[in-house]
Amino acid sequence: MMLSRRALALGAVAAAAAIPRSLHAALPPPVASFGPADLDVLDALKGVVYGPGAEALDIRPALQETLGFLDADKQPVLASLPSTFDKLSRVLVPTWGAYAGLAPATQAAALVDWLESPLPFRRQVGQALRQLVLAHCYGNEATWAQLDYPGPWLGRVPLAAHPLRFGEPS
């Protein structure tokens, strides 16, 4: 299970932090997990942003794990982001019904509506979810072969056979 924490830093929590204070006040008490409906939304987004082959990638456990590394008071905000996206999409896009149940083309159109919104808050939420899902997909070793990315040296590159690039006498 490979995630890019750095990548997530570019947006995931950003959107959580960008939620207006009135929304903060309405949030449930701290929980460090995504609910089933939230994970359904994220799974649906996975199909939209990753594309072909998304169904073979199980990113749910990694997403849950990610939450635990935030400051405690940020965790419930990020955990509620998928449902916030889902519910507001029904009003703002609008979509008709739960995001996870929409046709793929409608799901994609709804996400684009967020990403290209004139409102910074909506753009940030859309980007945060997009980046969150992508980072978890490409953090997964199963996706590396299509990129021809070999992964860590350890266990792959024997140092004895590798020249020092920047050697100095001791």
Binding site: R5, R6, V49, G51, Q146, R165, F166, E168
Partner: protein, 511 residues
């Protein structure tokens, strides 16, 4: 001696001549200097000690171990990612090893505007000589540039711009390219394997996984610190205290002001937490369809364009353009697009070269106290955004000159240039929140140093004005952003602070 907060008895009470909060370049070097001088020293570090044998080169594991919030931290408004280390050695464990002596032009600026007369290039030179000896700083041979950085060099030279290879604090580096995840080979000469061991070899105690929550003060003096021992889950499991004659806060430009503000210390300047600088940056990618670039292979950061730097060459754009490499997950989040189209584009991954923009920000943010955590207020001011646009154009120009088929920005709206005429496309994209990938690695300036107590948080020796024995030694004392990678400047100013402590507290009965 090392004590782990995960194992120490709750209620742990230590005493020393000096307690140093934080073990990044500032804290570690001050601790080493004072320990060498015979002071008893306790270093307190919130993060763990992570030896090379535990550096797995795997992003998920190492980001969790080595970065604050596992690398998830952002400014409060979401405008930029904020990355900094949380381990023994601080951010020196996860940086790209770039070393710049504080540029003379910057030192003169600090002298003129902040009365820091001691910080002349001539007086700082012997300090840097000594620091570079400890850190084993050497200039990278151009023959050791990876393809990504060599392309940047080619473009720079074809345009007749000034550029150079970095000086790096490495010893026997294999160029594995995982520097940002900690060095698996102990080649990176971080504070964790240089100054921290020097301190402990001279009798200092290192307390890890222990978060300082408060600096105790009474009658114009700091009396010590108190905080929480942390469990393996990073949650508090008990309290600890350290009584000391001198307190040095070296938690970095985010946690230093947070700790001091939380502790209610007196700051006559009112500037504590203000003047937060960060070198906001964004990548610019060059696409080389016929060549395998693999920007993640070899020494990721080896070459920079200095042409447009004010501190190096008096250029008004005031940016450094540095070669960078990025693993797949990070790259995937930067490139725009969705679904099959995005996936097809991303198959070009090994043909992407990348440069990072290190913008010298002029309009600062601030750090304030939130509910149990620091709140970072920072975003890109319009004037800084304008210079970021000009910087983007210069980086793209370098890639095109190097033979790239096109250059791409990190905007959410796909933005690419096949020639310099395409730069007009930048008229149609924004630079605000959620419009491009913006990240900062260098946090500076929230407890600035200077000669006037009405304007600056600490004195020219790093002492808080209202206290006889409370010092700050980290990047928070920078009066402005540096415009170059700040690691060596942190060591240099910490060396000044260390000498100040030895001079000013000698009468307290210490050697």
């Amino acid at each position: 001696m090392r004590i782990s907060g995960t194992e120490a008895q709750p209620g742990l009470a230590l005493a020393a001549d000096v307690v140093v909060v934080g073990t990044g370049p500032g804290g570690a070097s001050v601790a080493a200097k004072l320990a060498r001088a015979g002071r008893s020293v306790v270093m307190v570090e919130a993060g763990p000690h992570v030896p090379a044998s535990e550096m797995s080169q795997r992003e998920s594991e190492m980001m969790r171990k080595l970065y604050y919030e596992g690398g998830l931290r952002t400014s409060e408004n979401g405008a930029m990612g904020v990355l900094h280390g949380r381990a023994v050695g601080g951010s020196s464990v996860v940086n790209y090893l770039d070393c710049f002596r504080t540029p003379a032009r910057l030192l003169y600026d600090w002298q003129r505007r902040f009365g820091l007369d001691e910080l002349s290039p001539e007086r700082m030179a012997p300090r840097f000589d000594a620091i570079e000896e400890v850190l084993h700083v050497r200039k990278l041979d151009p023959g050791n540039l990876n393809k990504n950085n060599d392309k940047l060099r080619q473009g720079t030279e074809r345009l007749g711009w000034k550029g150079d290879t970095f000086h790096r604090n490495a010893y026997q580096c294999y160029g594995s390219g995982f520097c940002d995840l900690g060095c698996s080979y102990n080649a990176k000469q971080s504070a964790a394997i240089t100054y921290v061991p020097i301190a402990t070899q001279h009798g200092a105690t290192l307390l890890t996984e222990a978060r300082v929550d408060r600096v105790d003060t009474a009658a114009g003096r700091a009396t010590g610190v108190r905080g929480s021992l942390l469990g393996a889950d990073r949650q508090p499991r008990g309290e600890f205290t350290v009584k000391a004659d001198v307190v040095v806060v070296s938690g970095g430009a985010i946690h230093t002001p947070y700790l001091l503000l939380s502790s209610g210390v007196d700051d006559p300047s009112g500037q504590l937490g203000e003047n937060f600088y960060a070198h906001p940056g964004t990548p610019v990618v060059g696409y080389f369809p016929g060549e395998r670039i693999a920007n993640y292979e070899g020494i990721k950061q080896g070459y920079y364009i200095g042409e447009f730097s004010w501190v190096l060459h008096e250029h008004p754009i005031d940016v450094l353009i540095e070669g960078i490499g990025a693993p797949p997950a990070l790259t995937s989040t930067i490139l725009p697009g969705l679904g099959a189209e995005r996936q097809a584009e991303f198959r070009r991954y090994n043909h992407y070269a990348a440069a990072g923009l290190l913008l010298r920000d002029y309009v600062p943010g601030r750090v304030r106290v939130g509910k149990g955590r620091p709140i970072i207020e920072a975003s890109l001011a319009p004037s800084d955004a304008h210079r970021l646009r000009l910087s983007t154009e210069r980086a793209a120009e370098a890639w095109l000159a190097a033979g790239a088929a096109m250059a791409l920005t990190a905007h959410n709206k796909l933005t690419y240039f096949r020639s310099t005429r395409d730069f007009r496309k930048l008229d149609d994209v924004g630079w605000g929140i959620g419009e491009l990938a913006l990240v900062c690695f260098h946090q500076m300036g929230t407890a600035r140093m200077g000669s006037r107590r009405a304007r600056c948080v600490v004195s020219p020796t790093g002492r808080m004005w209202s206290y006889d024995n409370l010092y700050v030694a980290d990047a928070s004392i920078f009066p402005t952003s540096t415009g170059v990678n700040p690691q060596e400047t942190v060591y240099g100013l910490a060396d000044v602070v260390g000498d100040g402590i030895l001079d000013e507290t000698r009468s307290a009965g210490s050697p």
